[in-house]
């Protein structure tokens, strides 16, 4: 016998994400889901963002990694509250993992919660965690072909932070093509060229993020 199901496969995740989002709204917390490949500079961008914003916004962080607490320790030393999630193999965070650690996140004391996703250009784009906005970090040395190879993440993100821009003279990367393809996939995408090492371009990114919530 045939039975019609007609259900979105990720509906359960989306329901949980909506539940997380309701909790964030009730506490007046703006949530950014920060994605990017391993080594793109997600944690470095977080450190610089916290440094540049912490006098204006009360920030908290959820760190997602397959294993280890290195990133949470780095964030902890900036003085903001941080919770580490170890996915134990899973390549992305999902709404349930976030919901399980929420009791440890002091939502009432925060304006901005940043969720640093597992380093990966593919799966994190698929799973909502209850965020208001997704942003991605791409280091310039990853190459200008990434938008067309990993279109979904570029389409899902509101902002693209191109990090390690100080390396541009040393790599064979056509940044104009990178930006052109990224905007073709997502005309509303905001692009920031930064270097977390030299500090170049960080101010614009921080001003933009600060103005969102």
């Amino acid at each position: 016998m045939k039975v019609k199901v007609v259900t979105r496969i990720l509906e359960a995740n989306e329901r949980l994400a909506e539940e997380n989002r309701r909790k964030f709204r009730e506490s007046g917390v703006f949530v950014m889901n920060l994605m990017g490949a391993p080594g793109a500079g997600k944690t470095s961008l977080l450190e610089k963002t916290i440094e540049g914003m912490k006098n204006r916004k009360r920030i908290g962080v959820i760190e997602g990694d397959i294993a280890g607490t290195d990133d949470a320790e780095r964030i902890n030393s900036t003085g903001v509250p941080v919770v580490q999630i170890n996915t134990g193999g899973a390549c992305h965070l999902d709404a349930n993992m976030i919901s399980e650690v929420l009791p440890d996140v002091p939502l009432g004391e925060l304006d901005l919660l940043i969720v640093e996703n597992v380093g990966n250009l593919v799966c994190p784009a698929e799973f909502k965690v209850g965020e208001d906005m997704k942003a991605m970090v791409l280091s310039i040395s990853e190459g200008h072909d990434k938008p067309l190879k990993y279109p979904l993440m570029f389409q899902e993100s509101s902002a693209l932070v191109v990090n390690k821009i100080d390396l541009l003279p040393y790599v064979n990367v056509d940044i104009d093509k990178l930006k052109r393809d990224a905007v073709s996939l997502n005309p509303a995408l905001k692009i920031f060229e930064v270097s977390c090492r030299t500090g170049q371009g960080l101010e614009k990114w921080i001003e933009w993020l600060n103005g969102l919530n």
């Binding site: 039975v3 007609v6 496969i9 799966c123 784009a125 799973f127």
Partner: protein, 114 residues
Amino acid sequence: MHEASIALSILDVISERCNAEGYSTVESVRLKIGRAAGIMPEALVFTFDAAKHDTLARDAELVIDIVPLGGYCVRCGGNFEAEDAYVLNCPLCGSADFKIERGYEMEIVEMEVK
């Protein structure tokens, strides 16, 4: 490679439905997966087969219908379908002003049960 999470979600949805409506065996599950949804059909079948053993769907076959990326162009008014997972310009006139209407689906359409 999040096909394993997707396979587990499919098993959750169909098990819940079978328990609620009293079906004991699932013989097949038909999915609609968009070309741009970021799913590799072969990997999804592989992980579904690996995960189904202790469930009502232990003998179920996963049937996947692929939905090509499709939409219409605002400039030339034409409807198009694409083979790739993305479109940067209207394949008919080259304009960048187009709307994608399908190709991101990730749905369980129906199942065959006993």
